[in-house]
Amino acid sequence: MVQGKAIPLDRANVDTDQIIPAKHLKRIEKTGYGEYAFEAWRKDPDFVLNRPHHDDATIMLTRENFGSGSSREHAVWALDGLGIEALIGVDFADIFKSNCFQGGMLTIELSVVDVDYLMALASDTPHTEILVDLADQTVSVVGESWQRNFDIDPFRKYRLMRGLDDISMTLEYHTDIETYEGSRPDWMPVTV
């Protein structure tokens, strides 16, 4: 469950180079990227992230193909560093979406009309709060009747709800992995 104000980032095809530029990928940690998020666009005083009334937002509204380009998971860490917990947009780039899931960041896909509505709302009345309920799979506007359902892979939902760790679940299948490994042709390449 995420409830909070929303930042309307009304641009399509926002790429991960904008979310976190390559020059800030030199850190060997998962933290410390928030201050560089959207670095170039933040130089514009009118950029939406510079509007003080969006300061404590926890939801970001996006358009089509958000997170396109580089596979850098640093983009998710940077959004996390901004305090964002959920993204609501038309659709998301494949690798970025997968990275969000790994980092526990919700990516919610709604129709263009619904995204238009939320963009206008967040822009006109920035103090309006939006509620994302993962259990019910709904997005609603706090204090209003507007509500929409969203789709999520049932297993991803299950995993997110319980905070389970992919790796330990996969390792439960170590015998299947070993069996598979036994069937691989011996001419396949090895690196050592």
Binding site: R11, A12, N13, D15, D17, Q18, P21, A22, K23, L25, K26, R27, I28, E29, K30, E39, A40, E64, N65, S68, G69, S70, S71, R72, E73, H74, V76, D91, A93, D94, I95, S98, N99, Q102, D153, P154, F155, R156, Y158, R159, D166, I167, M169, T170, L171, E172, Y173, D176, I177, Y180, E181, R184, P185, D186, W187, M188, P189, V190, T191, V192
Partner: protein
């Protein structure tokens, strides 16, 4: 039963555990009253085995740290290969790295490779280079394999008929620990390029034409198989260029069916099987191409004979025009794209309606995993031979690997470039992503053989135009975009 695609065949042969198997297990446990949840795999995820995991200094440190914190081992160091490419200097390598953060990142890669027993092509190893160049070069990339890397251009390896895709750092850690990935199967898409390319038209123009047609979201959720006469007639280098930019069309991966061109390219490379093993492997590889009666979820056909040299003018790779064309007028752009077009043109400091050939450039970058292979350098050298870089233009060549560099030097290409006024650098990703000091200054405009023209990609405020190596070479000596076919004729 209908036939299977190349993609289906690779996918099917790598499923370690399927949702069906998992459902049976969950049912059995539920009946016994031992479980009341969804199991460990879910309804849609399949567990895929990964044959080769390529790693580099930028997206691996946090994954290694995750292993250490959880007390886990790297399951298959013998299926893992490391290099340093994204963040290495391409000049003065023998001197101390002036950027302490970069130096640390490279040092951490070394330490992790040593601690976990991973083979590393380090900075002074002649095999060092861009991760997507060295795999095919050494013969690690083979048909029918699954290959992943914490880099979106992993799709490059699809040129060999291997399922190769980029992953984030959490998934890098998952592969390290388990040698598998949990994936929902993407949909399939056929992009058929028919006919014959005109003289001087390159693989780069083919992929830019495809992206121009299907758009930067056109491939979302899909794996593309490139087919048709044009693709069949491309060299392996050309096929790699095409597959490389699949991600720029939003696709998860790109594939080309292995054929005689593939086998000829592979034979004799260090990691490619030989003798009886070659015969066994060949037999397996020949089973891979898509069956004649197989269907795709989506099919696109493009007339290859109509493709011209492409130049991007905007800030995403679909915003492009042919060299004889112009930047569109705003009323020629679909209404819903006008605002984005205006923003792109403002960033690029260009006016609607400008002729492509009237765009002047300041810098030329020849290299990257898209176009940093020997064939690319040969083609560009052919254009610059006996010519000189135009006044006011700075041009550099960054070979894709140490071995490409060496080969180019042996073939005399390095001297052709140097004589023409190009800088001749060491191998790495360099100005493609602007992580090391090879960047554009604010406002500078480049003709670049790389893959992304995003805002600030090659340096804050830098303006990137994507082109083929031949077109980049032509721009270098002309000072503006020009149809390379006129220079060559």
């Amino acid at each position: 039963m209908s036939g299977r695609t190349l993609f289906d065949k690779i996918w099917d042969s790598h499923v370690v555990r399927s949702p069906t198997q998992e459902a049976a297990r969950v049912d059995a446990l539920s009946e016994a009253g031992m479980i009341d949840d969804q199991g460990l795999l879910g309804e849609r995820q399949e567990m895929l085995y990964i044959d080769l995991h390529l790693i580099h200094e930028v997206t691996s440190p946090q994954a290694f740290e995750g292993l250490r914190q959880a007390g886990r081992k790297l399951r298959r160091p013998d299926l893992t290969l490391a290099t340093v490419d994204h963040n290495v200097p391409t000049i003065d390598r023998e001197l101390p790295n002036p950027d302490p953060l970069s130096a640390t990142q490279i040092e951490v890669m070394r330490g992790n490779a040593k601690e976990f027993g991973v083979t590393l092509f380090d900075i002074f190893d002649p095999r060092q280079g861009i991760v997507h160049i060295i795999g095919p070069e050494q013969g690690f990339t083979q048909p029918g394999m699954t290959i992943v890397c914490g880099d979106s251009h992993t799709s490059t390896h699809g040129a060999f008929g291997s399922l190769a895709f980029g992953i984030g750092t959490s998934e890098v850690e998952h592969v390290m620990a388990t040698q598998t990935l949990r994936q929902s199967k993407p949909r399939s898409m056929s992009v058929e390029v028919t006919g014959e390319l005109g003289p001087g038209i390159t693989a780069k123009d083919v992929i830019l034409a495809i992206i121009n047609k299907i758009g930067v979201r056109g491939g979302i959720g899909h794996v593309i198989e490139y087919r048709g006469e044009v693709i069949e007639n491309l060299s392996m280098e050309g096929r790699m260029t095409v597959c490389n930019m699949s991600i720029e069309a939003g696709a998860r991966a790109g594939l080309v069916a292995p054929d005689e061109t593939t086998f000829l390219y592979m034979k004799g490379r260090p990691q490619v099987p030989s003798g009886d093993d070659w015969e066994k492997a060949l037999e397996a590889w020949q089973q891979l191409p898509t069956d004649p009666d197989a269907g795709f979820d989506r099919e696109i056909v493009i007339d290859g004979s109509g493709i011209l040299p492409f130049v991007t003018w905007g800030t995403n790779p679909a915003q492009s025009a042919t060299v004889d064309g112009k930047i569109p007028e705003l009323d020629e752009v679909p209404t819903d794209q006008r605002e984005a077009t205006e923003r792109a043109l403002t960033y690029m400091d260009l006016e609607p309606g400008t002729l492509i050939r009237d765009i002047s450039i300041d810098r030329v970058f020849l290299g990257s995993c898209t176009n940093g292979r020997i064939e690319d350098l040969r083609a560009a050298a052919e254009v610059v031979k006996g010519e000189h870089v135009a006044d006011g233009v700075t041009a550099m060549v960054v070979p894709g690997s140490g071995l490409v560099k060496m080969q180019a030097e042996n073939e005399g290409l390095a001297n052709v470039f140097r004589d023409a006024g190009f800088e001749w650098r060491d191998a790495g990703c360099s100005m493609c992503l602007g992580m090391n000091p090879d960047i554009l200054s604010p406002g500078e405009r480049s003709a670049s053989t790389s893959n992304r023209n995003f805002e600030g990609r090659q340096g804050p405020g830098g303006r990137t135009h994507l082109v083929s190596p031949e077109m980049a070479a032509a721009a270098a000596i002309s000072g503006h975009f020009t149809d390379v076919r006129k220079l060559l004729s």
